[in-house]
Symmetry: C2
Subunit: 525 residues, 2 copies
């Protein structure tokens, strides 16, 4: 290996861990068998004309075939478009057209839903054990397993032409507003960023520490930054990997028991659903992507779960991991609180707080600023989107769109989205922090704080709350007043109004849909 | 940070860990103070004409000033020549002339010894707190602390012109034969290689596992691959670093107690000397560079030391780390044995076993072959030495000069140096393995196995043994016969002769000096 090219990870895997296994769809593949399948499909696809630069869309849950496509595309120099199946149908089509997909690989999980797409794309490959199906709608249709069988068991031609700065993949963010934004990663950036993430997790004593002895199952789908790097790191570590397919929480729990899974990644919503399953616990969990309520954190701790939060995203990869600061006793509730909110930037990553005018703000425990990030794996634009790129990719930095501050012990606290924060009487009020504090009340299931238009102050905070039982406005006010007394929030931040609702609208990515909430409530009386 | 440039490590360090400390020479510097000193000396040196490409020789033990020079050279784009002070004087001069040193930085530890060098080099900087000394022998002499005081507290001009593929450092191997060989590392290769080494150590459950909470002290000097990467990783991790200066074993022990050191690196000889100190124990130790006798391993284990061995070298950086295989109970003597000899190639590293004709040999637990290595941080030549480069750097691979095999569980066992192995009746006999087995006898202090010329077989093994008490040849024969019975060695490998000696000559690097031994004993009767 001379360079950071994705498929080169396989060489180490088959030298050091040839008999380690990948479990998927009730089957088991050793790393060596996996490698053989990868070279065979790559060779076969090469014969079909797939080569350096061909863009391949893959629509699948986390499966062995999808994983194989990561490494086969790498060997061919083809660009893997991991299609975001949580996008609305027209957004999905937009993303495929925008990325320039020439082939569509679709698993039987999505074949019905994807039928309207077939006529649009020249070449279709069905990823399934079922070979009976035919697709008259598609111009050319293939069965993955048949192609694989036809492949030669040797590395495809052109494999040595793949360079670390070539594009490896493209994927699209689930934008709550506007069109999905595409991000391309080079072989080098996706590998160094992923490696940095899981190495950082290995360095810490508490939280979702990982090691080569863990058994891994990603609940984050591959289209989210290749399952937050999980497409790479079990092979890299020589660890067992279990791919969950379409398992629901009870199916996931069955897999955890059967395969002795010890390390998973998931968003807080998935964690909450698993915690509702009897018998779930004693695993390590990396979570992130949306605020993590202290109620879930406590419940997770009670279930013997060691968790860490990740701060990052499709457009910046991994930026920070929550840690227990050195000076904090790891067995206290304070440690739990730090693991929920105190983010340490990964080594090699720089985080800068910026004022509106781009000036750097001090890390003084109170100055709230826009979070800007710089790292060796940062992309330099959104794909074919110069206008929006100009707003976010500035002079080697990525403007995340988040607001945050650095605590006294130099941990980053991400307080809010820039667009979500409330400007009241000229001062910022971070809604994310308010939501975190309100969610500490045991009866609060979900909470969204949005700006309410106000004649005197411009905007004032309004809290929309979903509870598991009836509680009064007073109870929440008392909770926040305690926080004011402890110096954790300004009295001025306390919401003027609390609205109790049965349901809070979410985006397709499971985040609070503040756009809808504002339309509905910002002028509420 | 857009790229892997050495001084960029500092930016993360001062954002995430500004108050963490470096202890050196009885003083303490926070990372922020350290950064300030680095930019000041860099600025001052820039004014003296040091710029991109200037080669700077530094002759010092592990000290804060030497560490500062790593980062200052990086900011200037200057090339740091970490002078190997274990070379013979004429070899040292050769290395400085060969590297093209334009400046010589020397600490008061070496100032007397280095005086003959002063007239040869244009510019001299004394690294010392003592500013009284003058050097009429040198054409231009400076005091480091004076230069530093004169420096501006801002990053030097040209800092943005330093690229990751620029040369960061050069250092020379202690060749036992011939001239020292120079190796240049780019910013990128030295950083990715070092990071990979300590990350790999973090991933394992046993041995010299490291974490961000450890306190680090390198006993490996900076001229050995920047103390095996220790010039970089405490800053990278945000961990406390203690630089030992010239401390002898009892001084080292005092530092361990005082600074609560928990992680160190050292060669086996240094470990043996520390183990002879009363009260040494309960630390993690990374060792390597020469064979590690099982007697020391047992003694280390009894002292509560968690150790790992590294396999690598100046010309390949880190290649493998010893591990306890998953299937072995970590509390057994078998686990200890694996930690001593079972090397797992680092992720991203490929190891290949080659026959004489370059053909790849199987990893079948018995085929002994030449160890070839490929990694993202491999240099592509010895500096200005095309002849010897051709022998070792072949088609992207480094031919290490070692012989080894892969055990059944895919761990690399490095059996011998190619030049040391014995060819007896057409078969290889690996002397390193024989030495390891013989050293298991509790009375064996050191052992070297060399070829003895033999009319019938060409060569036969001869063991030179130093013991702590009188033992018979018979005892050693019995030990080896047990190994034969267990299938661990071939009967044919048992030495024909054992010579008991009072002292075994070592090289300047502390390795068995087989050249001298052969001259002395290969024709012994």
């Amino acid at each position: 290996m001379k360079n950071f090219v994705v498929h080169e990870l396989l060489y180490h895997a088959i030298i050091a861990h040839p008999d380690q296994v990948i479990v998927s769809d009730g089957k088991q593949f050793t790393f060596r068998q996996f490698y053989t399948r990868v070279v065979k499909i790559a060779n076969s696809l090469n014969k079909q004309g797939i080569k350096k630069g061909t863009v391949i869309g893959v629509l699948d849950v986390n499966s062995h075939r999808f994983l194989e496509m990561h490494y086969a595309c790498s060997m061919l120099g083809a660009i893997l478009h991991t299609i975001n199946f949580r996008l609305a149908p027209e957004q999905m089509v937009y993303s495929m057209e925008h990325a320039g997909d020439e082939w569509l690989f679709v698993s039987d999980v999505f074949v019905e839903a994807a039928k309207p797409l077939f006529s649009k794309f020249h070449n279709l490959v069905l990823m399934s054990d079922n070979r009976g199906q035919t697709f008259p709608e598609a111009q050319a249709a293939f069965h993955y397993e048949e192609l694989l069988e036809q492949g030669e068991e040797k590395e495809p031609d052109g494999i040595n032409d793949v360079k670390e700065t070539d594009i490896f993949s493209i994927f699209y963010t689930t934008g709550t507003t506007g069109k999905p934004k595409g991000i391309q990663y080079q072989h080098r950036t996706i590998i160094t960023g992923s490696i940095q993430l899981f190495h950082h997790l290995a360095l810490h004593k508490y939280g979702a520490r990982l090691s080569s002895r863990d058994v891994y199952m990603p609940l984050i789908p591959f289209f989210h930054i290749h399952a937050w790097g999980m497409a790479f790191f079990p092979l890299y570590l020589g660890a067992k990997l279990v791919l969950p397919g379409v398992a629901d929480p009870s199916g996931q729990l069955a897999l955890i028991k059967k395969e002795k899974i010890s390390w998973m990644n998931m968003v807080p919503t998935q964690l909450q659903m698993l915690l509702d399953q009897k018998g779930f616990g004693n695993v390590k969990v990396l979570t992130g992507g949306s605020p993590f309520a202290s109620g879930i954190a406590q419940k997770a701790q009670q279930a013997g779960i060691n968790f860490s939060l990740i701060y990052g995203g499709s457009d910046q990869l991994a930026t920070a991991i929550s840690v227990v600061p050195e000076e904090v006793d790891p067995h206290t509730s304070e440690a739990l609180e730090w693991l929920r909110v105190g983010m340490r930037p990964l080594p090699l990553v720089e985080v800068s707080l910026r004022a509106k005018d781009g000036r750097e703000l001090p890390h003084d425990g109170k100055s709230i600023g826009a979070v800007w990030v710089r790292s060796p794996w940062l992309p330099n634009c959104y794909y074919k989107d110069p206008e929006i790129s100009k707003v976010h990719f500035i002079d080697g930095w990525f403007r995340t769109g988040d607001l945050g501050f650095f605590s006294a012990n130099n941990l980053l606290y991400v307080a809010d989205r820039e667009g979500d924060a409330i400007k009241s009487g000229g001062e910022w009020i971070p809604t994310g922090m308010l939501e975190a504090f309100i969610s500490e009340h045991p009866a609060v299931v979900k909470v969204a704080v949005i700006p309410k238009n106000d004649e005197r102050w411009g905007q004032r905070p309004l809290a929309i709350v979903k509870t598991s039982e009836n509680i009064s406005r007073k109870e929440l006010l008392n909770l926040l007043k305690t926080k004011v007394k402890k110096g954790k929030l300004s009295k001025f931040w306390i919401p003027d109004q609390f609205i109790f609702v049965d349901e809070i609208p979410l985006t397709s990515a499971g985040k609070l849909n503040k756009k809808v909430l504002r339309e509905r409530y910002s002028n509420a009386k």
